[in-house]
């Protein structure tokens, strides 16, 4: 797996995407179907990728992305460009949708998820831009706390799954996560 930090080009590409997505969400709120298509063309592959990291199955990742687009359409009027960033809003929707699918799948059929894909813990952090405060602050955390936070956010691990994967009791995991988050909060201001 490639693990290159995001380049300068990537950073400017992302800020252009941000403006475009923000405008498109506002147009969706007016009922402009073409604007939803703009979001799809620009972000659908990344959205499937985000869902895939959590669900580890492509059909489920597409299902989550499908539902996420319906939610974007219905919820576009609630997006406030002044409050949050557009892409963060968009990805929060697809992540939540993926987590919902994950919880349902686990409830109904524990075997459907492909456990053979071990999440690559280092990849997420090493791909953050070199200049990223999140990268710098995550790297300052103890390995256990850092792993717990990244596995939970990027791979949708629950406290219980984190305890299993990292081989520590549930109570320890909960306190690692909390303390890790406090350190991140201080570090990122």
């Amino acid at each position: 797996m490639t693990a290159e930090p995001a380049s300068q080009d990537e950073t400017s590409r992302l800020s252009a995407a941000e403006a475009e997505i923000s405008a498109a969400i506002v147009r969706c709120a007016c009922g402009d179907r073409l604007a939803l298509r703009v979001i799809y063309d620009r972000e659908a592959a990344r959205m499937v990728g985000v869902a895939m990291r959590i669900l580890r199955r492509r059909d489920l990742a597409e299902e989550a992305t499908h539902e996420a687009f319906l939610r974007v359409w219905r919820g576009a009027h609630g997006f406030d460009p002044a409050r949050g960033t557009a892409r963060a809003w968009l990805f929060a929707i697809v992540r939540n949708q993926a987590l919902t699918v994950l919880r349902n799948e686990q409830r109904f059929d524990a075997d459907t998820l492909d456990e053979s894909h071990e999440p690559d813990l280092g990849a997420a952090i090493s791909r953050l831009p070199e200049t990223s405060a999140l990268r710098r602050c995550l790297q300052q955390l103890d390995t256990g706390r850092r792993s717990a936070i990244v596995l939970a956010y990027a791979h949708g691990f629950s406290h219980g799954e984190l305890a299993g994967r990292l081989g520590v009791p549930l109570g320890t995991i909960k306190s690692w996560v909390r303390r890790g988050l406090r350190s991140l909060q201080e570090c990122m201001g």
């Binding site: 405008a23 969400i25 709120a29 799809y40 409050r83 990805f91 909390r178």
Partner: protein
């Protein structure tokens, strides 16, 4: 309630998806009722969102868009629920504007409009007069800068009356506001002042007292989808006789 310092990890755990169903529902209720907590959630969301860009892109199946579209067509048309949050200081001065419009400026503006219409659009006006007209004026100088005409067939045009100074790298953006809850919508983008057809096709029909305004924005249009630059001219529609 919970001291502030305990809220931040809770907001983060909500964003990460670590809360159980009950705690999650509590958190959602708090987002709706507690602005501080909602802000902390936004902050964490923005912090973590960089991790989303570390996911590999996975091209969706070729028919995913069609499936989404077909789900959308099965849904009822979206209800235009009230938008959350800011409508902006921008639009508040509208009341003041109306009073100003009623004052002495009105004669001068009407003259300017009549002149503009006579000179530039005599034929069209004779053939098909607009049902609504808005005179966009400069708040500071009370000078009329443009006219917006809305026709019965839904066509809306903007005709400048003065040459507007557009610095390099900037553009004129035309906005309309017909509902404060929904907020302003962009209906046109121009590199310089010129008569232009405005794009209101996707908006509800133009009505009386609908606000139009022209702001100065970065070339390519406002990056946020809302007016960000100074207002050059603004005015509301009035029905023609």
């Amino acid at each position: 309630m919970t001291p502030d310092r305990d809220d931040s990890p809770l907001a983060a755990e909500y964003v990460m998806g670590l809360l159980d169903a009950e705690a999650r529902a509590d958190a959602e209720r708090r987002i709706a009722s507690d602005a501080d907590f909602a802000r902390q959630v936004e902050t964490w969301r923005a912090r973590f969102s960089q991790l989303d860009d570390t996911a590999e892109e996975v091209a969706p199946a070729g028919d995913l868009w069609q499936r989404i579209e077909s789900s959308l067509s099965k849904e009822a048309p979206i209800a235009q629920a009230p938008a959350v949050g800011m409508i902006g200081r921008f639009w508040r001065s509208i009341a003041a504007l109306r009073i100003a419009t009623l004052g002495s400026a009105v004669t001068a503006i009407l003259l300017a409009v009549v002149a503009a219409m006579t000179l530039q659009h005599a034929q069209q006006v004779a053939a098909r007069k607009p049902i609504y007209v808005a005179i966009l004026i400069d708040d500071a100088t009370r000078q009329a800068g443009a006219v917006v005409n809305a026709f019965a067939d839904g066509r809306v045009e903007m005709i400048p009356l003065v040459d507007m100074n557009v610095p390099d790298g900037r553009a004129l953006q035309v906005w309309t506001l017909w509902n404060r809850e929904i907020g302003p919508r962009s209906v046109g983008l121009l590199s310089r002042a010129k008569a232009t057809q405005l794009d209101l096709e996707k908006l509800p029909g133009t009505t009386a007292d609908q606000l139009f305004e022209i702001t100065l924005e970065p070339a390519g249009g406002s990056p946020t989808g809302r007016p960000t630059g100074p207002i050059l001219y603004k005015g509301t529609t009035a029905r023609t006789l």
